[in-house]
Structures are given as structure tokens and as C-alpha cells.
Amino acid sequence: MTVRELVDRTGLTVLVLPDGDHEVSGVYAGDLLSWVMGRAKESQAFVTIMTNINVLAVTALLDLSCVIICEDAEVPPELIRSAEEKGINLLRSDAPEYETCVRLSSVL
């Protein structure tokens, strides 16, 4: 399933979707970036509450399919701008990480 299809089926909010055709291979949830760096796999959707710019570096380096910011956390405008520039899909969920993952799991 592509990120665009994932958005359609889950009702996640799109912040930017510059690479909507990226296939989603699965999901990885986490907030410790080095942990994510060491464990997440290519094209997974990255579920997190972190909103600092380093989230994008991790996503770019691992070729993750999208970042899903949970709990309706406030997303700094720089993050959105930078995601657009880097071609990274940035989504938002109103639910906590666990419920977001459950929702993802029901469609993937």
C-alpha cells in the first residue's frame, strides 16, 4: 500500500505529502532516535511524538515511507517546510502512538 492510500484509509492528517507513492512496508514506533536508527527498516512508517528536525534526518537516512506525529503534537512550521524540501511525507494523528499503530495495523 502507498502512503497516499494509507492516508485515505486511516484518515490521518496530511501535513505534507511530497512522496505519496512511496510503498509502506510496515510500521516502526519509537521516540529515541538512535534506537529507531538502529532498528527501523526501509519504507516503514515511523510513528513518533518527536517533532524536532532530527526526525527528518533519520527518516531520510533509512528511507522510511512517512513520519506520523501522534497525539496531535504541535508541529513546528520549520519541520513541515524542511520535510517538503527533503521530499519526506509528514502526517499527523490525533491518537496516541498505541492507538495509531492499531489503526495502521487494521489497514496494512
Binding site: S34, M50, N52, N54, A57
Partner: protein, 141 residues
């Protein structure tokens, strides 16, 4: 590539936490252009990224050098920070001296050096307290 070896050098700004990762993202682009496999690219860029972050968090910045050789990719990270007193301890998963403000950014899990070791074929740390740290990593290709 013949016998040529390619060399790149990146300065890592110790003041600017938000730009940390630039050397790794550029390296990724370079390795892609040369045509390395995704697995090699990923291993090199993860190891370099952790090294870059460490230089910013722990050592006020430094220099990253990338050597693309016939049989391996070599990364040398050099800084003039405080040095590492006990390297064995620093290598343990979960060991971190990162302050709370760094933790709130998602770093300081104490996984950086272990990740660097895990993703490379060799890693050597030379460090002197008060003088700095030099880390040499290689990934065989």
C-alpha cells in the same frame, strides 16, 4: 572504480544541532551516485550519522572524512572535544552522559557507539581526555 579512491571532507558545526546529519545525508547521495548497494549505503550513513550527532552533543563539533576505496569505505571522525575517559563503558548499550535537554530531543539513549560498531566491519576509537577523539570505521564493499 579502478584504483582510484575518492575523498570527501565535511565540517560538523558544534553549535547547530539542527544541521547535524548533513554529512551523512550528503554521503548517502554520493554513495548512491557511485552505485553502492542500498545495504552498504544504509550502514555507512547510519554509522556516520551517529558519529556526527556525538560530535555535536559531546564534543562541540568536528570533522568527518569519507574515503571510498576499492574494497572498502572508510569514515574518520575527528574532534577536539573532552575525549572519552572509559571507552569500554562508553561502548555499552544504554550508557550515556548526555544532558536532559539532549534527551528531550530524542538522543542520549546510549545507542550511538553500539550502533556504529554494529553497522560497520571495523571500528577503532582513539581518545585522550582533554584532547579529543578520533574514530575510524570501515565498511567492506
Amino acid at each position: 572504480m579502478g584504483n582510484e579512491s575518492l575523498y570527501y571532507r565535511f565540517d560538523v558545526d558544534g553549535e547547530n544541532f539542527t544541521s547535524a546529519g548533513e554529512a551523512s545525508v550528503q554521503t548517502k547521495r554520493i554513495l548512491r551516485r557511485v552505485g553502492f548497494s542500498p545495504d552498504i549505503i544504509k550502514r555507512v550513513s547510519i554509522a556516520m550519522y551517529e558519529g556526527e550527532i556525538n560530535m555535536v552533543i559531546h564534543a562541540c563539533g568536528g570533522v568527518v572524512e569519507l574515503f571510498i576505496e576499492e574494497d572498502k569505505i572508510k569514515i574518520i571522525l575527528t574532534d577536539h572535544g573532552p575525549g572519552i575517559e572509559n571507552i569500554d563503558l562508553a561502548m555499552q548499550e544504554g550508557y550515556s552522559t548526555a544532558p536532559d535537554n539532549i534527551r528531550s530531543l530524542g538522543f542520549g539513549a546510549g545507542m550511538g557507539l553500539p550502533n556504529m560498531k554494529r553497522y560497520t566491519d571495523s571500528m577503532e576509537i582513539e581518545s585522550k581526555v582533554g584532547e579529543g577523539t578520533k574514530i575510524t570505521m570501515t565498511v567492506n564493499v
